[in-house]
């Protein structure tokens, strides 16, 4: 039955995708891509990927939508009728699709327990996690320890994006093309009810983010999801109170500190493993008991990820928002 649900949702997903492509108003396209994210996240949930569903929802429907709106506020909203290379596009797309569909016929079917992916590496993780790391969430165990180096890379990907956006948008705005009138980003000043409710919610969202951060060993969650949630909570604060007020609460330098601090914390834990006689990112040597060491290591690196992600997402949001406000 859930398979049918999945197929239904996937069909909706396709309809949404086509709607996004056809929408002439970019604002509509952004809203539809919010729906798109929710749908694909629901599909992930049905396919047993709880952590991924949480991330996709927080990132796609939350952060990405807010970022795209922030960018749209700075550029034109209407799309000019396209005159792009349609023939070339169709040819490339058709070729790619043929390749992919050709490959499907030899692929294992959905849910086939005999598929190679379920035979080789994965069973080891499922069997050994309890003994070696002793956290129930195997996804967290792999993410933070077995493949912790990938996560270090992931952290630096988002770090690079943060540095990049800061760098790219650090240029003073060119006055030549600034024909749009400036807008005071005062927040939703005139809306009493959303403000009150929003203010009420902000601490709960941050609290929930912290729960997701530290509960990631036991349930879906972890540093990245928590970072995205906390960042969305603080973005909500900025939305209702305005940029300046939000920056007074969390200053830019604090954000930069968070970004760099998280990255340094993760790398530092790795180096500590090296100095204590193990390899890079070896947490077992952090404590006398290897399993306790793993717990400590996972806690610290997840914290690092959470810090950097929160800092980067907020920085990016402020970089866009600051450009829209009075200069």
């Amino acid at each position: 039955m859930t398979t049918v649900f999945g197929i239904f949702l996937l069909t909706l997903l396709l309809v949404t995708a086509i709607g996004i492509v056809r929408a002439k108003d970019l604002f509509v396209a952004v809203m539809l891509s919010g729906i798109y994210s929710l749908q694909i996240a629901a599909v992930f949930f049905i396919l047993d990927a709880a952590d991924v569903a949480l991330t996709e929802a927080a990132v796609g429907a939350g952060v990405a939508a807010v970022l795209m709106l922030g960018a749209l506020a700075l550029v034109t909203r209407e799309e000019r009728p396209a005159t792009g290379p349609r023939r070339l596009a169709l040819a490339v797309v058709a070729l790619t699709a043929l390749l992919v569909v050709y490959a499907t016929f030899d692929q294992p079917r959905l849910g086939d327990p005999g598929a190679p992916v379920h035979q080789h590496v994965a069973p080891w993780y499922l069997a050994e996690t309890a003994r070696l790391i002793d956290v129930p969430n195997v996804v967290t165990a792999i993410l933070a320890s077995f493949r912790g180096y990938d996560t270090l890379g992931e952290l630096f990907v988002i770090f690079t994006a943060g540095i990049g956006v800061m760098f790219v948008l650090a240029v003073p705005r060119d006055a030549r093309n600034g024909e749009e009138p400036s807008i005071d980003s005062a927040g939703l000043r005139h809306h009493l009810i959303p403000r009150v409710v929003g203010r009420l919610l902000v601490p709960f969202i941050v609290l929930f983010g912290l729960y997701v951060q530290f509960h990631g060993d036991y349930g879906p969650g972890g540093g990245f999801q928590a970072g995205a949630l906390i960042a969305t909570g603080l973005i909500l604060h900025a939305l209702i109170e305005g940029e300046r007020a939000a920056l007074r609460v969390v200053h830019r330098n604090v954000l930069l500190g968070l970004i760099a601090g998280g990255a340094l914390l993760y790398t530092g834990v790795g180096i500590a493993g090296m100095l204590l006689g193990g390899r890079f990112l070896d947490y077992s040597v952090l404590r006398a008991d290897p399993v306790a060491g793993q717990h400590l290591g996972i806690l610290l690196v997840e914290l690092g990820v959470g810090m950097t992600v929160t800092g980067v997402l907020l920085t990016i949001f402020h970089a866009f928002a600051a450009r829209a406000s009075v200069r």
């Binding site: 180096y149 540095i163 990049g164």
Partner: protein
């Protein structure tokens, strides 16, 4: 556990750890010193690795001490060490001149962010070449790509923005194609570790997904490596990036993508796909030949911007490298891999010279180049050395690579001898465009009304000049004594051509 054990990871960790520190340093000079120190340290690590690899086939480093297919493993062999040398060398050269060269291009209040992105690019590229895990390569590919976009976006004129946007779109499509390919291989083998993949892929009987994966990975990385029809992003990106960044990017970013491409095609697919070498040859050889001829011709017709001309020449030289690899013989691969090193040297020198000529953030147009031979004799001399290397004149490093390419092609018999023709034609074309630049530099008279270049004798500041002289000297050094890169390239070719069951 000796200090040597940690060498592979140090190549990644040193720049990675320095990057956030540099972001925190507001002072331009301090940030620059830290970045240079990190880059030089990484270069030292690379040199030590080359030394350490003389006695062993490869160095493996299991991260987090988890055993190989379950954890991520770094694996450094001769091929990776050579690439690491190129990456760190180019980065150090670029960074050493960055302090003088970035003035007028990147505002001093955001230079620490720029240098952070630079270190991240180094870490990303180093991470790719030392990694032994297919997905890990993707992650570091993205670190390096994002950082490279930032480096190019720092260009002082607005075409830099459109150029970097193009690159971002194409680069992301390329990386995503790679991800699809890795996903399909993972689906059929259940593993992500390259060495394990190589073993297990021979047991896969359903070939369609593997074949499609081969297609996706090859096309995706070809986009990143700017192999001929997929090169559209490259000229704009090289032309409009800040001069110092061009030195770094042009010398190594396409080569790292080629490295991954060769790893996959010769390491993973040849063991499983029947006649994969023949397929690769049929697919890649014509592309390489067309690239060598068309891109060289485009370079000749580029009459405005020196950097754009050199960028087209880079596309042609990617063609040379692919040509060598497509021969799929020991000599051919050696030649291709050696040419990676030599081309990085020659192109690095040329772009270093271009950076001196365009000092202060000016675009390096031919007008600005005019009369450089009188204003900046040393710089122009170095430019000539690099240009000769590009052509492949005996005595420069570029000659050795081309010589091996000719030998490798000729080994294939009569058809191979025929393949020598485009090599020679392309070299003749290279003579034409390099000569034109030299002619303008020595004999062109600057049109004082239109040129902003100072007419008096004015070499670049000493640090830039020193780096340039070292680079030009290296071109000559490795032209007469090519044994170090040659040995590495030979061993790399051996590794690539060994069948999976013959390892260990």
């Amino acid at each position: 556990m000796s200090g040597l054990t940690h060498l592979p990871i140090l190549a990644v960790v040193v720049p990675l750890l320095t990057a956030p520190l540099v972001a925190l340093l507001r002072d331009r000079t301090l940030a620059w010193i830290a970045a240079v120190a990190a880059s030089l340290c990484t270069l030292a690590v690379a040199i030590t690795l080359v030394g350490a690899l003389e006695s062993v086939e490869y160095l493996a480093y299991p991260l987090g001490s988890w055993p190989a297919p379950y954890g991520i493993e770094l694996r450094v062999d001769a091929f990776s060490a050579l690439l690491l040398l190129i990456v760190t060398g180019a980065s150090s050269a670029g960074l050493l001149i960055a302090r003088d060269s970035l003035v007028g291009e990147v505002g001093s209040e955001r230079q620490h962010l720029y240098l952070t992105a630079w270190l991240l690019a180094v870490a990303g590229l180093a991470g790719i070449v030392v990694s032994g895990d297919a997905f890990n390569i993707f992650v570091f590919l993205e670190v390096s790509s994002l950082a490279t976009y930032v480096l190019i976006a720092g260009g002082p004129r607005r075409p830099a923005l459109t150029a970097v946007f193009n690159y971002l779109i194409m680069g992301t499509i390329g990386a995503t194609f790679y991800l699809i390919g890795v996903g399909l291989i993972y689906m059929m083998t259940g593993t992500l570790n390259l060495a394990d993949m190589e073993q297990r892929i021979s047991g896969v009987t359903e070939l369609k997904p593997i074949l499609v994966a081969g297609g996706f990975i090859t096309i995706g990385l070809a986009l990143k490596a700017a192999i001929f029809p997929l090169h559209a992003w490259l000229p704009g990106a090289y032309t409009h990036a800040p001069h110092a960044a061009t030195v770094f990017i042009a010398a190594c970013s396409t080569k790292v993508a080629l490295y991954v491409l060769l790893r996959f095609d010769f390491f993973i697919f040849q063991g499983n796909l029947p006649d994969h070498e023949a397929q690769f040859r049929v697919f890649a050889l014509p592309l390489a030949v067309v690239a060598m001829l068309v891109a060289s011709a485009l370079a000749i017709f580029e009459r405005r911007n020196l950097k754009r001309m050199l960028a087209y020449s880079s596309i042609a030289h990617v063609g040379y490298i692919v040509f060598g690899a497509a021969l799929a013989t020991q000599t051919g691969l050696t030649a291709g891999i050696l040419h990676m090193f030599n081309h990085a040297l020659a192109k690095g020198t040329l772009f270093l010279a271009a950076a001196s000529i365009g000092l202060g953030g000016a675009a390096v147009t031919f007008e600005r180049l005019a009369g450089a031979g009188r204003r900046m004799p040393i710089t122009t001399a170095a430019f000539v050395v690099g240009g000769l290397g590009l052509i492949g004149i005996p005595g420069t490093a570029g000659f050795v690579g081309k010589w091996y390419l000719v030998v490798g092609a000729a080994e294939l018999g009569p058809a191979g001898v025929l393949m020598v023709v485009p090599l020679l034609v392309s070299s003749v074309l290279a003579v034409l465009y390099v000569w034109r630049a030299i002619e303008v530099a020595y004999f062109g008279s600057p049109d004082s009304a239109r040129s902003s270049a100072p007419a008096v004798r004015a070499e670049a500041p000493l640090p830039m000049l020193a780096v340039l002289i070292v680079a030009a000297a290296a071109n000559l050094w490795f032209g007469f004594l090519p044994s170090m890169p040659l040995t590495l390239a030979e061993r790399a070719a051996e590794v690539l051509l060994t069948e999976p069951d013959q390892h260990k």
